[in-house]
């Protein structure tokens, strides 16, 4: 049994959060690496790839956080249902 009422275990959203969180960390490190590499090569402005990676990182972080918020709300809903 992995559900209370018709609310299934929201663990999968937590797992999604962890997966996307790790992915966003990887993108953040790539961004930093790109920026450092670009400056070492004598660039005066951040490269277009670094900018793209920053936006991708931000997008992933937001999506992963939304997954976490959703899982939290689902857990609360399930607990309230069970207490009734």
């Amino acid at each position: 049994m992995d559900s209370i009422g018709n609310i299934k275990n929201p663990r999968k959203y937590v797992n999604k959060f962890i997966f996307l969180g790790v992915l966003s960390f990887i993108f953040i490190f790539i961004t930093i690496y790109q920026a450092i590499l670009f400056f070492e090569l004598g660039g005066n402005d951040i490269s277009i790839y670094s900018q793209a990676f920053i936006y991708i990182s931000l997008f992933l972080v937001i999506i992963s956080t939304l997954n976490l918020i959703y899982s939290y709300l689902k857990y609360r809903q399930a607990i309230e249902y069970a207490n009734k």
Binding site: I4, L68, S71
Partner: protein
């Protein structure tokens, strides 16, 4: 004292200090960035300059035919303080004079790197570049004055950024030790929004470095927020498993 009370006091203190600071720092609005447009027919790439080393590309349009020598001179002038405009630093650059075969109309592109390091000397607020180009065998010459306003955040922006960073650190500590980092991250989000607005007022949000700093702060803040929220999820997950 509960941590929520400490947070409320810290927030009120921060708002109070900010308001007082804004009331007395009456000069911060003067240092706004203006994207100056050139009205003459020789375009120059306009951009905000956050560092002293940059490349300036410009084109010379002329109507001459035959072999000509083109000489360009760049005068870079840094104004260190608006209150004392005589306090300036000037450096001249001269390009190599090379004979080129011209066909009219023609566009020639030059690049110029300012590596004088004057930007870091004394916190200059404004940079004025004068470009003068001429064809040596004729009287045809052109002169361009470009005002570059050096991108520099105002004190109030720096203050908001400081608060944002402070609350992010407090949020991380709270998430690690008290499992209550969510509220602090919401506070830091408010200050990040304040800082972004203030940067927009300063006119420096177009400069890539400040825009990317803000984006990085957003990412870090979201990460700390998620970490704090994960503690809450962990707690309700335990409760959920007991009920199962």
């Amino acid at each position: 004292m509960r941590i929520n009370n400490i947070l409320i006091i810290a927030f009120l203190l921060a708002v109070s200090v900010s308001l007082n600071y804004a009331a007395f720092a009456d000069d911060w609005q003067n240092y706004s960035f203006e994207n100056v447009t050139i009205t003459i027919d020789r375009p120059i790439n306009q951009e905000t300059i956050p560092f002293q080393k940059y490349t300036l590309f410009f084109t010379v349009n002329h109507t001459r035919n035959g072999t000509q020598n083109i000489t360009c001179r760049f005068y870079v002038r840094y104004v260190f303080d608006f209150n004392t405009p005589t306090q300036v630093y000037t450096k001249q650059y001269v390009t190599n004079t090379t004979p080129v075969q011209l066909t009219a109309p023609m566009t020639t592109t030059y690049s110029f790197i300012d590596d004088s390091g004057a930007y870091n000397k004394d916190n200059p607020r404004q940079q004025i570049i004068t470009v003068a180009c001429g064809l040596e065998s004729s009287k045809e010459a052109g002169k361009i004055d470009v005002n570059y306003y050096v991108a520099y955040p105002s004190n109030i922006t720096l203050l908001f950024l400081f608060y944002a960073f402070m609350f992010i650190v407090i949020g991380l500590v709270a998430a690690l030790y008290t499992e209550n980092g969510v509220a602090v991250c919401i506070l830091s989000s408010i200050f990040i929004i304040f800082a972004t607005t203030s940067m927009s007022v300063d006119g420096i949000l177009n400069a890539w470095i400040f825009r990317d700093i803000i984006l990085f702060i957003y990412i870090i803040n979201s990460g700390v927020f998620a970490f704090g929220l994960y503690n809450e999820v962990f707690k309700v997950e335990k409760e959920y498993e007991v009920l199962l």
